[in-house]
Amino acid sequence: MLDNYLPILVLVAIAFAFAAGSVVFSRLVGQKKPSVVKLAPYECGMPLFGTARDRFSIKFYIIAMLFIVFDIEVVFLYPWSVMFKRLGMFGFAEMGVFIVILFVGYVYVWKKGALEWE
């Protein structure tokens, strides 16, 4: 089994070597003159204001949560999509019920206004 995937392992190794190598090389070649001002996070040249570790809108959390749910739905679609011919009409009906139930959830989310950005 591993034979099929051997190229990917080699590729991962090469890709990491490329990423690490270029950064290390630039470290060796590049200059190094750090100063307090240079190391400060960029804020249009003004003195720093507050912290960058602030809380965010819950909206983003809902999006991520919904993404998980619908991602799982999509994932269930894949085995069906390669086998749909063998599964036939019955398989399609099953998938239909599955999609409709989740679509109810989608409509609920929409009606509740969780997809609104104001």
């Binding site: 819950i58 749910v69 739905e73 894949y78 959830g105």
Partner: protein, 167 residues
């Protein structure tokens, strides 16, 4: 060769699993968890279950872990969270032992024991892993599959209610 790769991978998986529970910063925990997931995906590939490997990456590493990182970013749990209380350690140990026992029994009932079910390793190689999953999912496990959709529906409703309490 393959067995060496397996042990290397297992070592990385265990080490990163250990890091998940010991690292101080939540983001580093999440990264260690990602490493564990990637190792698991590798194991699935070695077990002739590439579809499971893809799902492991897409759903666990791509979606669920994403939610975890998102939550950490949103709440800014960047700095180490103070840990106190150790009562959970006992439960965790009990749980871990139970899971280990379960694993032991499952392995003993597997092909090692010589007792094989309808679907064997050769069959997976011949028919294809995704096809077998699709077949059993949409025929034998029809009811669990549809129940899963209801479970997901409940998850959607729950997520919206938690996030929008005032509505």
């Amino acid at each position: 060769m393959e067995i060496m790769y397996f042990y290397l991978l297992a070592a990385v998986a265990v080490a990163s699993g250990f890091m998940v529970v010991t690292c101080k910063s939540p983001v580093n925990n999440a990264i260690a968890l990602m490493m564990t997931f990637v190792c698991l995906a590798n194991f699935y590939v070695m077990l002739d279950a590439p579809f499971m490997a893809a799902i492991q990456i897409m759903v666990y590493a791509g979606a669920i872990l994403m939610l975890i990182i998102f939550t950490i970013m949103l709440l800014n749990l960047g700095t180490a969270v103070a840990r106190k209380g150790s009562h959970s350690v006992v439960w965790a140990t009990v749980l871990a032992l139970l899971i280990a026992m379960q694993g032991y029994f499952v392995i003993n009932r597997g092909e090692v024991s010589g007792i094989t079910g309808e679907i064997t390793g050769e069959m997976v190689k011949k028919v294809g892993h995704t096809e077998l999953i699709a077949k059993s999912l949409f025929t034998d496990f029809l009811l669990p599959f549809e129940i899963a959709s209801i479970l997901l529906l409940v998850a959607i409703v729950g997520a919206v209610i938690i996030a929008k309490k005032e509505v």
